[in-house]
């Protein structure tokens, strides 16, 4: 058993991948919690796709990929907010049109600029390609993001719970929103290296909603979400190593299994727990009913 656990660690790429997996397993659910409570889970998906033009341009000019991705991720959230504020188009439609057009622009640019870019690796992630530099970069971003969330926790709580109230007492809601969007975009960029553009959202949203079914406060949701995220990352990576599965889908499927368990068995809100409880309640009242 121990050999089974230690064997993958003898490869450097696996050590890097696991380290990065643990870090994004913590970071993605904590940041993703804000997406879930603001009912914007799909925004993660939108940003993840919208960064593609940035990657293509950065690749072409040989500049840091992170910068290009970040710029276009933030641009997409700005476009969505602008469309929503300037017209009667609702946010879901604004997200759909932005997401599709940015992704289309990205694919077009990849072709036009003839980027030597592995689209499949981008879409599905590749643990083999995680380097020690990636791990350090992921760590730095995670530490900064978690520290900022800790420092501005009460303001972000107020803003995400009651934006109108927060604005009314004079909190700088636009800056708080900008900070959140920046955090979400950066998290997606570092997360997609491991699980890919399409599935990074599963690590941001899945553990957060699983925790949402188990606890009653935002900070607990973050803590439990991070624990579940790390579990999903590690289990997914081992499954990927031993069963020769792509890492991203393996992690995303573990996330879904954990969510399914919570959905059925959560002590307070589980579908099965509720029905067992009502059956038990019916049985225990039956003798009295017969009398």
């Amino acid at each position: 058993m121990l050999d089974w656990l230690l064997d993958p660690l003898s490869y450097e790429f696996m050590r890097n991948a696991l380290a990065a997996g643990v870090v994004i397993g913590i970071l993605c659910p904590v940041v993703g919690t804000y997406l879930v409570v603001q009912r914007m889970a799909l925004l993660g998906d939108v940003i993840a796709h919208a960064i593609l033009p940035g990657l293509a341009i950065a690749n072409f000019f040989g500049i840091e990929m992170l910068l290009g991705a970040f710029a276009f991720g933030m641009l997409s959230t700005a476009v969505i907010t602008w469309i929503r504020n300037q017209s009667r188009v609702k946010i879901d439609s604004a997200m759909a049109v932005t997401f599709a057009s940015f992704f289309a622009l990205g694919v077009t640019l990849l072709t036009l600029l003839q980027s030597r870019f592995d689209l499949e690796e981008l879409l599905f992630g590749d643990i083999l390609s995680v380097t020690a530099t990636d791990v350090w970069r992921t760590c730095t971003i995670a530490v900064v993001a978690l520290l900022l969330i800790r420092l501005f926790y009460k303001e972000l709580l107020f803003y995400t719970f009651d934006r109108t109230g927060a604005e009314a007492v004079g909190l700088p809601v636009n800056w708080l929103n900008f900070g959140l969007m920046a955090g979400i975009t950066l998290t997606l960029i570092v997360g997609m290296k491991i699980v890919g553009v399409i599935l990074v959202v599963s690590l941001m949203v899945g553990p957060a909603i699983t925790a949402y079914l188990l606890v009653k406060e935002l900070h607990q949701m973050m803590a439990v979400g991070a624990l579940l995220g790390v579990m999903a990352s590690v289990i997914g990576m081992y499954a990927s190593y031993y069963l020769d599965l792509p890492s991203g889908p393996a992690i995303a499927l573990v996330v879904f299994v954990l969510f399914g368990l919570a959905l059925l068995l959560s002590p307070s809100q589980g579908v099965l727990t509720r029905s067992w409880r009502s059956q038990y309640a019916r049985k225990s009242t039956q003798p009295y009913v017969k009398k």
């Binding site: 409570v37 709580l157 719970f161 009651d162 007492v169 004079g170 909190l171």
Partner: protein, 245 residues
């Protein structure tokens, strides 16, 4: 003293409220009534600084915009996501956010203020409940406690009496009376009708412009009501001079 002078709000190209002027002395509870779409919520949002406005709004002589911490706001219940993972205690603690300041934890005094506010609305024993597990009346009281914990001078309440139980109504009226005695100013958007309007010291009747601003009996005349709600309003079997009070 809240003073509003020539306030107009242009909302997406439509003049939602126009040239509103009124003043409310400290220690007054003022109800704001008017048909749907009359601009009640727009007016409150403009006063809260959430919408751009023309005109002037001042509290104790200084612009309202610069004294936002002195203004407490109780939103309509429908505006809140009751499934949000937060306890009643932490909702009330939000009132202390700006007083606490950036990068700081709430002081012991803030915790005592929150505890006292929850105690006043009879919810201390439910403080650790997730807010979705409270009844409608209890939820309304959580937000009243939040407004109290802010220790504001001016209170805006958006339809606080909608869908609540008798116990909550009694607690709310008790709190309002205490606030009035402390010299606070309350402006309450209301959908009530009839005797309930007697609880206000004054009424503002609004339909895009301010149609009346006086004691309830003087505002709720047939003529005023028809100006606000249209000619076809059914007012049979009511004394013509005071049909709705």
């Amino acid at each position: 003293m809240l003073e509003v002078e020539h306030l107009s709000v242009d909302y997406r190209g439509v003049l939602a409220v126009e040239d509103i002027s009124f003043a409310i002395a400290p220690g007054q509870i003022v109800g704001m009534i008017g048909p749907n779409g009359a601009g009640k919520s727009t007016l409150v949002k403009a006063l809260l600084g959430l919408l751009p406005m023309q005109g002037r709004a001042a509290l104790h002589g200084a612009p309202l915009q610069r004294q936002r911490h002195r203004v407490a706001y109780v939103p309509q219940r429908s505006q809140i996501d009751w499934d949000y993972p937060i306890t009643a205690w932490n909702v009330v603690m939000m009132a202390r956010t700006t007083t606490t300041g950036w990068l700081r934890q709430p002081s012991r005094q803030s915790r005592q203020i929150v505890q006292a506010a929850l105690e006043r609305v009879n919810l201390l024993d439910l403080a650790q409940r997730q807010i979705g597990q409270l009844s409608g009346g209890q939820q309304q009281r959580v937000f009243l406690a939040r407004a109290l914990a802010q220790q504001a001078d001016l209170f805006f309440l958006d339809e606080p009496f909608t869908g609540i139980d008798k116990k909550t109504e009694a607690i709310m009226l008790g709190v309002f009376a205490e606030l009035r005695a402390q010299g606070k100013t309350l402006l309450i958007c209301s959908h009530e009708w009839g005797d309930a309007l007697q609880r206000y010291d004054r009424l503002l009747l609004l339909n895009r412009t301010l149609l009346a601003n006086d004691a309830p009996q003087s505002v709720m005349t047939l003529e005023n009501i028809q100006r606000a709600y249209g000619e076809n309003l059914h007012v049979a079997n009511r004394p013509a001079e005071m049909p709705f009070c």
